[in-house]
Symmetry: C3
Subunit: 377 residues, 3 copies
């Protein structure tokens, strides 16, 4: 059974990257670059390099040729070539070669170091819409001098303004607290009390669980698809508290609101996410981030994501932030993983090739276009 | 290294399906059928079909030919053909082609919609024995007007009568509460108090953890193998509370009673179940349910089930309920998964072919015959 | 793409087994041997044999030829041949054929039944250094008649003496309590109180969480790499409490001390360990023990260990205790698993062969030599 048509469909699909951040806005040297090739926020020890990792090997294998170097170019040559071409050209090449057709850019993290949605559209030549991080909107509101008593009514107004053109919302409750929060909508009195404590503390960072829950429920009220970081991330997370299964009661409570919940990344809990996506119509998931960081092993992660969830409930994302290598590899490794899994199944006669092509399009493009209403923009 | 003998042994093995429910007793239309092809109890959204899932693809691939259609027949044609043949003929064909040789039928869930053990025996032409659900026996007893004070003594009597011909018991404490219960046997006073509250509430459904523990310990007293739903299931479960590892203390406490504990399904915690089956002589497990719902990916799930547990401690089940496609695929996908794994190992020279054949027979048939004492019936 | 050089490098690498115990010091009969081929401490039931397991099949496949029998020799012949050769010769052959070049021997468990580090060096002809179990040092100190009040100051002195020549420390807090302990360093008053209770109890076994934490922090003060049993083990563990993610807060608290934390085994939580090893510079892990017990499936476990962690953070161990089959297979299965994964990646053009060879050397030897400062001995 030939799988040429499947290969062509996978290769040519203009992916919707439904959760991504901007590419780097400026130049970085090797130490700075290495720090962006790990979820660690610690300095890279002298006795190692982040290039000696699955991600590092994937960069040398797949990004080097895009920059005009041989595959497996060594790290020093790669960094030198990167600097020679300059950030703008590196970004242009890597984004173009990724074949991503539409970026949904989450703008809430270190936005001054990376391209804005407009900048991503310019650099890539394809549309880029915005996903707004709830915690950032609240932290901006706090800096504006809001009082605790007015915060419960002011936040939804500010959120509506801030998201007038957005396609989705994002919560990082996983980072700021964990998923083991009280799933009920907090009362206004609770929110006012928590806001008072927080505003008095002077901390720019919201991590009070009452306020984080208030953000989630305000997000549900807003009605846009609500992305939740789940699973693997930087050392801020306590990973065992980021298993999406811990959201089960919240998922049930929020179901009547009609909001769609987009579980992001999920590694190493992606099978758990697949269960939630099967049983709850408003739950979706992807395996972004984990795909990049597992490099050649991402084929296994992608295959594991194709178990319990109906194919209408799985999406593609890169979760890239910063180095455009991450945008490029997010797409490339996902394509390779999907092709590897599906072509094996077609060759074994288990799936038909037209079905396989249809599933690739659903996961890589159609589901995101439907959920985020991209055709109505 | 040829694996023809292994393939023949796998193909011809009359499986003991040690945990299964009846096939549908009547006709269903497509919407009703789709609701039975997911563990979700929510309506199928208009923008998707359950046929676009691993299970749906497996049905179109493997069941369509049994009904006289080409492999990968589309869903509409498949449903039309199903209706044309009628439920009885569809069931007859799919059960016969499954090669299952003995059904252990759990009768506690929606028994009026599906075939009884006798009906399964008639439809398949092979023996069908009964596994009795503990919660159902208690709920029936409650409906009969039992008083709280007499419940602790009446239940064992009723259970003995109800299971006079049964081969096993089943607990759904995972659905009704979770595995994070106090593992100790509750005192009679605790049971009477909990029973009083429950009977006064008028709820037909037992979900009080004291009563659920009472059922488990009563089941252990009864002495038949005790099946426990574990892992993945419908949205009633809070899946993180259904990890079989949470049973560790109960497993140790109940060990002196001599009861065998059969951990069912276990996905995505099947590796955890394998650990329990290695270290505790009275613990067994299977990967039913997850095999059906992961379709072509079930080969990976089956392979993962073959790690820590001694081969005498692993069983086969389909956990099918309703559509006989589930009975058929439970057997077919397990056979394919076992053959794929074991033939690779034989071809690589890691296992001998006679060993592989022996292991298939242990897991598919012999272990269940021994544990459930099927040869003494 | 040829992978001959890779195969030769894998085959010829003198591994550092960074966590292992001594081989059996004397003869054992079949029942005793079988009890050492499982993590269960229960008698092997009459209706089964531990040889019918992945480990048993791997012994018959790979160890039988080392003893002069055909591959897949049956269990009875294998045991007979073992007895015929005698323990010393069996050990000599299996250790030599393992190609292990350096043993880091943990001596705290049933040391009278197995070879000491010196005995291992003699039997193998390669160096063997010692890893000291913290709990054993404290239990020895208790037997010596220490008072509770002096214990906090005496223990570090005794530990320093006991570890003057050691290369590392080991904690079994996972067995004795679980990882869900208060991560803070306990105060001296707390330690004295807990020590008083323990010493008065007369129990030879330390399982008080305050004392176990005291050991961990004393170990951090000592400054040697600190090994922690994680994941799968005998029925003493409550496995869900041994997920290394539960150590996250302790890992952060101990980070400023500069101590390296070596997470051992980790199955089935090895992906979680990979996350910790990525984000925390002082965290390392291996997949020993699980490799032996999963036999032919160890290739999957090894591959799963090569995801998030930088290659400088992964190590090799066998965790063998007793039968030298476990030392032999720990090395052999790891080599086979690494070669299978890496040669596939090289053949597919995803990794270069020199990179693959470099990674094998890092994980199998170089990382351990660096962390345990073996070149400074």
């Amino acid at each position: 059974m030939s799988t040429e048509d499947l290969a062509a469909a996978v290769d040519g699909l203009p992916l919707v990257d439904h959760h991504v951040h901007g590419a780097l806005a400026g130049e970085v040297d090797r130490p700075a670059l290495e720090l962006m090739l790990t979820e660690s926020d610690r300095p890279v020890p002298a006795w190692m390099t982040q290039f000696d990792s699955q991600l590092g090997f994937a960069i040398r294998r797949w990004c080097a040729p895009v920059l005009g170097l041989p595959a497996h170019a060594d790290a020093a040559d790669y960094v030198a070539r990167r600097e020679e071409l300059g950030a703008e050209e590196v970004t242009r090449r890597l984004l173009a070669a990724s074949g991503i057709g539409h970026y949904l850019v989450e703008t809430g993290y270190k936005g001054d170091e990376i391209l804005s949605p407009g900048g991503m559209a310019s650099a890539s030549g394809v549309p880029a819409d915005e996903v707004v991080r709830l915690e950032t909107v609240l932290e901006d509101l706090a800096r504006s001098g809001v009082g605790a008593a007015e915060l419960p009514s002011r936040f939804p107004e500010v959120l509506a303004e801030r998201t007038a053109d957005a396609v989705g919302l994002k919560s990082i409750v996983a980072y700021r607290y964990g998923f083991d929060f009280d799933p009920q909508r907090p009362s206004e009195a609770e929110v006012v009390a928590a806001a008072g404590n927080w505003l008095r503390s002077g901390s720019p960072r919201v991590d009070d669980p009452v306020l984080l829950r208030f953000l989630l429920w305000s997000g549900a009220d807003r009605g846009l698809p609500l992305q939740l970081h789940a699973g693997y991330g930087d050392p801020d997370v306590e990973l065992h508290r980021c298993d999406p299964l811990l959201l089960t009661r919240f998922i049930k409570l929020v179901e009547p609101s009609g909001v769609d919940l987009m579980l992001l990344h999920c590694y190493p809990f992606h099978r758990n996410a697949g269960y939630l996506a099967q049983v709850f119509p408003h739950v979706y998931f992807d395996v972004g981030l984990g795909v990049n960081y597992s490099g050649v092993r991402s084929a296994a992660v992608v295959a594991e994501s194709l178990e319990l969830a109906p194919f209408a409930k799985i999406l593609f994302s890169s979760d890239a932030w910063g180095p455009p290598e991450l945008h490029h590899l997010g797409a490339l490794l996902w394509r390779r993983g999907m092709l590897k899994a599906l072509s094996e199944w077609v060759e074994a006669g288990e799936w038909s090739e037209p079905d396989a092509i249809r599933v690739v399009r659903m996961i890589g493009q159609d589901n995101a276009r439907r959920v985020y209403r991209l055709d109505q923009r």
